[in-house]
Each structure stands twice: as C-alpha cells, then as structure tokens.
C-alpha cells in the first residue's frame, strides 16, 4: 500500500477495507477457493510453503477505495535469508486503466503515456502468481494490496490470494508494544524507514516501496527495535 493517510476528518483509509476483510472470512474463503481450484492451473498455490523465501509486495493504484480503484503497477521482490534479492524482482505496469486521474498521477507519477504498452490484467496476474507462488507475502499495510489484488483475481480466476501474509506496519506496532506497552503510534512509512535506518528507495514506485518494505522487514526481524537507536 503506498498512498498517504486520508485527510483529517474523513474515515481513516485503514478502516475502509477492513470492513469487508475480516480474517475469519478470508480463512473460510480460502478453504472454498482451494476446493474449487483443486484441478485448476493454480492448485499448487494452495499448498503450504516449505521454502525459506518471502516476497515483498506493493501495488500502485488510482485511488484509495479498494472497491473502485484500479491497479496501475505491481511490484514484488524476493527475500532470502538476510538479503533482498533485487536481482529477482518483478515490476509490472498494467495497461492504462479507465480511471487514471490527475490525483493519483501526482502520487505514483505514472502518467497515461507511461503505461502505454502495459500488460493486460490477465497476463500481469499470471506473471505475478508465477513469481510469488505460495511464498508468504510481506507488505506495508498489506491488507490494502491484498484487497486490490483479490478483486482482480476473483474476476479473472475466481480465487483470492491464499498466501500467508506479514504486515510490516502491524509487525512494528506489535514489537513496539512488547517493549513499550504505553506507546501508541501510527508511524508513516517514511517515519518507520527513518526509525529503522532504512534508506527510502524510489518512494511511490511500486518496486521502490516493495524493496524498502523488504528492508524494513529484515530490520525488524533482526531485532532493530530491541536496542533503540535513539
């Protein structure tokens, strides 16, 4: 997820998509999807993952409302051990969506012309699924990205992403709560990156945010919060 928090006074965006995305619902839906896909091309995605890789994921969209916004680009990068495998990354641009507007262009900086020659939705999703496989997914407020992708996937293939997920924002809040129970923070992407000493690589490009997110995840995993840098 790579859009700024909504202006004050409106319903925070985080709640927008939570309404339709209860974890329990997800789990139930996954079971149903699995049975339906048992003989399909993507049955293998539903197998439990046994490797040691993760995939950091990020989408750029035309808006914040997961019911209407459209995908502009999708990026994913693999994480193995303590390395971010930028050499094994995916950076997909989709064909220009109908709702591409001035507002979102200001954020992701992908203009109409930049999306010329972009992929058709089905092709992009197939490539993405091949790349991520059944690896666990890592993202910044990943629920938003999942909601977006699932809407597209359901339309094309009739299932949602079954992968296990790690939300870096949530991971951070959880770890912070463990060491400083009294603090309640909602850091922005930039604040957390700075806090963890991670340079922000290409903010608001899908791949840049995916790589930064991957680095933040590695930092959190290596216990960067255990010894506060300040």
């Amino acid at each position: 997820m790579s859009v700024e928090a909504a202006p004050q006074g409106k319903l925070p965006w985080r709640q927008w998509f939570r309404l339709g995305e209860y974890p329990m619902l997800r789990a139930i839906r996954r079971v149903a999807d699995r049975r339906r896909q048992a003989d399909g091309d993507f049955a293998w995605l539903f197998n439990p993952y046994t490797g040691d890789e993760l995939v950091a994921l990020d989408c750029e969209t035309t808006g914040l409302d997961t019911r209407h916004a459209e995908l502009v680009s999708i990026a994913a990068v693999r994480i193995r051990d303590d390395r971010v495998l930028t050499s094994e990354s995916l950076d997909l641009r989709l064909a220009r969506p109908a709702s591409l507007s001035g507002d979102s262009i200001c954020i992701h900086r992908l203009r109409g012309v930049d999306l010329e020659g972009g992929l058709e939705v089905r092709e992009a999703l197939t490539t993405l699924l091949e790349f991520i496989g059944n690896r666990p997914l890592v993202g910044w407020c990943i629920d938003f990205d999942l909601a977006m992708l699932d809407r597209y996937l359901r339309a094309e293939f009739g299932f949602s992403l079954p992968n296990a997920t790690i939300d870096v924002a949530q991971q951070y809040r959880k770890r912070l709560r463990r060491s400083h129970p009294e603090i309640e923070v909602q850091p922005t992407f930039e604040q957390l990156a700075e806090r963890l000493g991670v340079p922000i690589m290409g903010r608001h490009t899908a791949l840049g945010d995916a790589v930064t997110t991957a680095l933040m995840h590695l930092r959190l995993e290596s216990g960067a919060l255990a010894a506060p840098s300040r």
């Binding site: 390395r83 971010v84 930028t86 790589v211 680095l215 290596s222």
Partner: protein, 607 residues
C-alpha cells in the same frame, strides 16, 4: 532501486549495457553492527558495494588489535579480490549498521571477462590507478576552462619601442639587453614590427651594415588584437597570418606585444610566466612579487593533470631560483661565490609544495675570510622572511652559527652527531642528508655529501637508530571512520609521507647514495637491487599521492586566507571520492608493509 555512482571507477569503465546488467543483477543486504560480512577463508561469492555504513577489513591472523587493514564506507567496493582469488584473505566486519549491494560472483566475473578495462582495474597496481585519477582530473576541465578564458592582457609583454632613426647595431644591443625577440619601431607612418629574423636578413642577405636605420626595415602591416580579447583569439590570429607575435591595442593606444611562445607556455603550464618573472626580477621587491605567484602555478599544474612529482620538481626549481637570486641581491660579491648555500629538508629533496619554513645552511670555503659573516647571514634570513619563507622554528638557518662552517667544521659536527646519536643529532643528520646546493660553489655540497657518507658508512648501529624514526608515528589505517570526530582526518604527513621519506633516506645513507630526492633515491636503490623495482615504483607513487592530497588540503586552507605554514597536514577522508579513498587505502597499506620490511632489515623489533 540500485543507487550506484557510475561516474567513478571501476563502474565508470562499464558501458551502458553492462551498467544495465549491474542494475538488474544486484541484491541488497543489511548488516548489523559487528556482523561478519565476509570471513577469512570464506569463499568469495559476492562483490560488495556499500550503499551506506562502514566496514572494517581485519586480518584475524594478526590478532584482534594489530590486524586492521582497511576501512570502507559509502560508495566503496570490497570483496572483488576474494572473488578473483576464490576465497577471502581477510575478515570484513560491519563497523556500524551497513546496507550493501551484493554482486554475485558470476556476474562480476562475466563483466571482467567482457570488459578488459574493468577487469584491469582490479588487477592494477597503485601506479596505474593514480594515472586514472590524474586523467579524470584533467577531464574535469573546470579550472582548465579558466585558462581558456584568459584574456590577452594577462599574457602580454611591455612593448619595446625604438625610434625609426635607431641604427641596427643599437637595435641588436637593445634586444640583447632586454632578452627580447622583437622591437616596435615608431615611424612617421605608425608603429612597425622588427624581429630578429628581419635584422638577420637585412644584415646578411641584403648586405646592409650596422649603421643602417631600422625605420626602413620594419614591417608596417601589423597583426593586432585588442587587450580584452581572449588569448586563444590571439593564437588564432597568429596561426592565420603565420606570425609569431601580435601587437596589442587598447583602443587607439598600443599597449603591448603577445609572443607565440608566451601563449603556448601560458596554455601549457603558465610556469614560464612565473619563472620569467623570477629571472627578470632585478630587485628584491619584484622577486617577492614573483614568489607570491608560485602557489597559483602549482594549482594550475594540478588542474591540468600534471603528475605530482613533476609539479614538485617545477616548484622546487623555482624556489631554488628565488633563493639563489635573493642570495645574489643581498650578499657581498666575492664571498657569496666562494661559499655554498644549502637548502635542507623537504626543500633539499625537491619535495616542497607550498613554501614552508626556511631550512638552510652554509658551507664556507676552507680559507674563506668573511668578516661580516654573522651580520650578513642574519640579513639573509630576514630577506627570505620578507620573501615569504618564515623563519625555521628549529633554528636551522644560516643565521645560526651552528649551521655555518667550513668542511672541516662540518666533518667535526657530523662526527659528533654520529657518536652521540640522540634525537637531536639524528634529526640533524637526516636534515643534512637531504642538503642540495642552490647558490655559490656547488663543488662544496658534493664534498659535504662525501664527508657524510665517509662518516656514516657501515655504522649499523647508527642506521638502526635512524631507521627507528620510521616507527615513531603509527600509520593510520584505523582512522578512517572510527575517529571520534571524522573531520579531524588522517595525518597524512606523519602517517604516510614521513615513513617513506625517512625510510628511503636511511637506506640511501646506508648505500652511500648522493641523490637527495626520494624519487631519485628510490630509483637508485632499485638499480642497486636493494629494493624491488615494483616496490620502489609503488612507494614513489604512494608518496606522490600523499603529497597531492596534502597539497589539496593546504590549497583549500590557503583560499581561506590563512598563513600557509599552519596549513593542515590532515586529510579528511570523508571528503574524498571513492577512487581516491581506494588509492589512499592502498597507499597506506604499502607504507605499512614498507615499515615492516624496514623493521626487519634494521632489527627494530629487538631494539
């Protein structure tokens, strides 16, 4: 996502397609403080480029304390040698949290295979890398542009005018006295140009005699430029009209002449102009004016990518001329020719960059009577002071009777220093070993070196004492980033320059060499087989690099209008680019090895 600076070697050596491969082939890894990134003996699987952070290179074989070899920071590359050799010789540890790009060895080796220049970079010795540095600087062109934008009036000479009724004989005399090649003849029809060639042709080919008036020979059709035109325009005019000089006007007023040779040397180094000024100076005041311009000359030479040792040679020649002229202006005639004025220390070695303290001494001829000696030498010291050479705080100056004497007196002093080799005596011996003559009877300085060699030959104990000086300051391999305040920098004089200069000086003394410059001594030692030629070349190159970095710090300091003598000997490593850091690291490493070999040779471990 990969943010690598492609403007510096080795990555600048890659072509666009290869850069794309690099951008697409790198991974990113994060290392916490004290994480071992690559251990000794581990196989080299990646070449690392630091994006952010600091990494130390350690030699575990030398134990935890002494084993520091290098230090790397943002933009630096390490691990390439491990990939080439198959395994790492040293241990790389993150000194602080570090973010590195990892280039898989397969990608690195395939880049090496396809790109010879890139591959060479990792196999090259210091000497070829410094050449890269000089080339890059010459490409920089910023300062060079300053030269191209020079105006005519910065390079012109005063016009040498004679009346049209002057005879050829007088004209020739004028040319000789003024050291000029051409005259302007004022005729009723306007000024005319008269060159040496014109005179020669008139006398020889046309058979005129010396009493002919020059008005009839001069050329009245002049090639002219305006004072405010660019110098290169004057050069173009000369080329177009096939002449070697143009006349300069300011409006209607004739103000000067620009000679082709002056323009060419102006563009090549500007040194000629300064040295011309020194040669033409006929008073101390004009000499002082010329000597003020020396730093400007050095800066210009450096900007053009002139190799450091040549720049140093040029400057020390110039300083020598200035001191020699000062000697001529201020000393009585018969005395000054019989004695020999010496310059010592860095000046004697010809390795002085900006003017520093005066270090000088005087050898008197054996039977020389110089009644006003102490008054005269004191005056000379203050003359040099006025010229911009501050007095030596250690009082190594001709005004100190300790540094004046006949050869017999010098021999007695040297003998005493050799017998009682305490710190002072060793310092004096070292300073004297670098002595070069600048004025007077140069035969005396040769004989002084004979004396020095005779008195010290075969004295192993003395050599050991001398050599120990090399170990006096530690070589700052550790100072890169771990200093509390990095802006304090690395003391390049103590850590780099001194060990090389002093070590080489000690070896030179042992072998009875008469060379005084470190580069010449190294070459002589190499041809004697005392030191490997490769090592000698690299040490020379390391010395040049240190001098250059120090000079740059000093020039920067000068620009802030502080006196050059307090100039810092420290180089702030963080202000260097990654190529320079790479070179500095390698050069300091060479110094460390050189010190180790000296301490083996002179048994310093036991002393």
């Amino acid at each position: 996502m990969i943010d690598i600076d492609f403007t510096h070697p080795p990555f600048s050596l890659l072509d666009d397609a290869e850069r794309e491969r690099v951008l697409g082939g790198l991974d990113i890894a994060y290392y916490g403080r004290d994480d071992v990134i690559l251990d000794a003996g581990q196989s080299g699987e990646f070449v690392f480029v630091i994006h952010k952070g600091e990494v130390a290179e350690l030699d575990p074989a030398e134990g935890p304390a002494g084993g520091r070899i290098g230090h790397y920071t943002g933009g630096d590359l390490f691990g390439a040698i491990s990939v080439i050799n198959g395994q790492s010789r040293y241990r790389f540890v993150a000194e602080e949290e570090s973010l590195c790009y990892l280039m898989p060895h397969t990608l690195f080796l395939s880049l090496c295979e396809n790109n010879a220049a890139f591959s060479d970079y990792f196999h090259q010795r210091l000497i070829s890398k410094t050449r890269l540095l000089a080339e890059r600087r010459a490409e920089g062109g910023v300062t060079l542009a300053g030269f191209m934008l020079a105006r005519v009036n910065e390079c012109m000479r005063e016009p040498l005018k004679v009346g049209s009724t002057t005879c050829i004989r007088d004209a020739v005399l004028t040319l000789r006295d003024k050291g000029a090649d051409s005259l302007l003849v004022e005729t009723p029809d306007g000024p005319g140009m008269l060159t040496k060639t014109d005179l020669l042709e008139a006398l020889v080919l046309e058979g005129r005699d010396g009493d002919t008036e020059v008005g009839g020979i001069a050329h009245l059709s002049l090639v002219t430029v305006d004072e405010s035109q660019y110098l290169f325009e004057a050069l173009i005019e000369m080329t177009r009209h096939e002449v070697a000089r143009v006349v300069v006007f300011h409006g209607q007023q004739l103000t000067g002449v620009v000679e082709l040779t002056d323009v060419l040397s102006f563009f090549s180094s500007r040194s000629y102009v300064v040295s011309l000024q020194v040669e033409q100076a006929s008073t101390l005041a004009s000499l002082s004016e010329a000597s003020q311009r020396a730093p400007e000359l050095v800066e210009a030479l450096m900007a053009q990518g002139v190799r450091m040792r040549f720049a140093m040679g040029m400057l020390s020649a110039l300083n020598g001329r200035i001191i020699s002229k000062a000697w001529h202006f201020s000393m009585p005639a018969p005395q000054r020719e019989r004695a020999c004025l010496l310059v010592l220390g860095s000046e004697g070695r010809g390795e002085q960059i900006l003017k520093t303290d005066q270090d000088n001494a005087l050898i008197l001829a054996d039977d020389q009577q110089w009644d006003e000696l102490s008054a005269d030498t004191a005056r000379f010291t203050s003359v040099l002071d006025d010229l911009g050479y501050p007095r030596c705080p250690g009082n190594i100056m001709v005004s100190n009777p300790q540094w004046v004497g006949t050869l017999a007196q010098w021999r007695a002093r040297i003998r005493r220093w050799v017998c009682e080799p305490d710190g002072d005596s060793l310092m004096r011996l070292a300073v004297l070993a670098d002595a070069s003559g600048v004025a007077g009877d140069f035969a005396l300085v040769d004989r002084l070196h004979d004396v020095l060699i005779e008195e010290t030959r075969g004295n192993e104990l003395l050599l050991t004492h001398l050599a120990r000086g090399v170990l006096r300051f530690s070589t700052p391999l550790t100072l890169f980033g771990t200093l509390k305040k990095p802006e304090h920098g690395v003391d390049i004089k103590k850590g780099g320059i001194f060990p090389i200069v002093h070590g080489v000086r000690t070896m030179a003394l042992e072998c009875g060499l008469r060379e005084t410059s470190t580069h010449d001594r190294l070459a002589a030692l190499a041809s004697l087989g005392r030191i490997e030629r490769v090592v000698a070349e690299d040490l020379g190159e390391a010395l040049s690099l240190f001098c250059e970095l120090r000079l740059r710090a000093q020039l920067a300091y000068r620009r802030d209008d502080a006196p050059a003598t307090d100039a810092p000997d420290r180089v702030v490593v963080q202000s260097l680019n990654s190529l320079e850091r790479d070179l500095l690291r390698e050069a300091l490493h060479l110094v460390k090895e050189f010190k180790a070999s000296l301490s083996h040779r002179y048994h310093l471990e036991y002393a």
